[in-house]
Subunit: 226 residues, 2 copies
């Protein structure tokens, strides 16, 4: 049973919504970092931590949806505030899926560690770094309402795509030359796809921020705050 | 320049929003169908149609977001109507990504057709059929507000996951036995992952519908319709 509190001031709740989004972003980032670190340092315990630790992010996912819904229902926000809340709903979905990608990476890394290694991981760590920086910058742009930073995230998506293609080609070459690397190669290909998707989610978030900051309002907002 | 019309009745606009969601769902479904048909019938022209034809779905994506935002801004809907609009925003994102999956499948199928075929596609067509039925049923559940049908979509996600794992294992066996099948095998593995993701999106949609229909309202809705 939820304890009923008096309706708090709109801006305070909106601030709380943004803070929860950032907390969720931080959690998602940490989980990706742990999955990649577990792969690089060949540390199955670290990977297990990722596999077992998705409860906090799932809780935040539900909580943020609830907060956003409550803000929409109780305060009927207009214009800029409405855009922030709608963006928060979308960003929430994207961050939850980033958390899923961390799990996917940890699962693939676990299978990879059980096989003879292909090569020192090619450019996968570099790809992970780009994806994570994109995510961090997208969330930073959300806090600062920084359209330029958000734009810079969009541009980096191609870079990630190029790395993915290059890694695919390199792994294919190994697999063709030496079929004992096929299984390990497949896992690394899957990991590169998961990293690419993290970049896609960062891109979605950046697009939402551009909408929040720069959307033209069709009409003047009525101020419905209490 | 958008022509200004007088503000239409809320329920009429909400009906329009639902109709656009269904139109988008239909388009997304058609595109997945064409991509899979193009693969099965080895028809590159059909695949090209998928690669070139994403403009209508992208337009609908923007249009639906705009409609939902307009409904939130102008009518300040409460309770059940608010849930429908929030769900529409989420379903819109999911359907756009299903459209992206159709493109990914068509791209992989194109590369696959240029290679010596592995085998008669294993259970990929069956997997595609399940993913598409899940999507169709999820949209049907949205129209009919049918929680049971939505629940049945959730259950089928495991089935899809099992097919994905089985296809992966079978292809891996071929690739290990005959390295000339590696490239084609990789493309089929990627296609099975795209199909799995279509099932994930159908699952997301089904979850949204359950939220729309069964969420407990915290307080009675004020009727803010004009």
């Amino acid at each position: 049973m939820e304890k009923r509190e008096p309706v708090r001031h709109f801006q305070e709740e909106l601030g709380q919504l943004k803070a929860r989004i950032l907390a969720m972003g931080g959690l998602a980032e940490d989980r990706v970092q742990s999955a990649v670190d577990g792969l690089v340092s060949r540390d199955p315990v670290r990977l297990d931590g990722v596999l077992k630790g998705d409860e906090p992010i799932n809780q935040l996912h539900v909580e943020i949806d609830g907060l956003a819904f409550r803000l929409l229902a109780l305060h009927q926000p207009m214009a800029s505030d409405l855009r922030v809340i709608v963006a928060a709903l979308k960003i929430n979905s994207d961050l939850e899926r980033v958390g899923d990608m961390a799990v996917n990476i940890a699962e693939a890394a676990h299978r990879y560690l059980a096989l003879p290694p292909v090569k020192p991981l090619l450019d996968l760590p570099r790809m992970a770094e780009i994806a994570q920086t994109m995510l961090r910058d997208a969330l930073d742009a959300f806090v600062k309402r920084d359209v330029d930073l958000a734009q810079s995230v969009l541009v980096r998506d191609d870079l990630l795509d190029n790395y993915k293609t290059q890694i695919f080609r390199e792994l294919l070459t190994y697999m063709l030359q030496d079929p004992t690397t096929i299984e390990a190669g497949l896992e690394l290909i899957l990991i590169s796809r998961h990293l690419e998707r993290i970049g896609d989610h960062a891109t979605n978030i950046a697009e939402d921020i551009i909408f929040v900051v720069s959307a033209k309002d069709v009409r003047h907002a009525q101020n419905l705050e209490p």
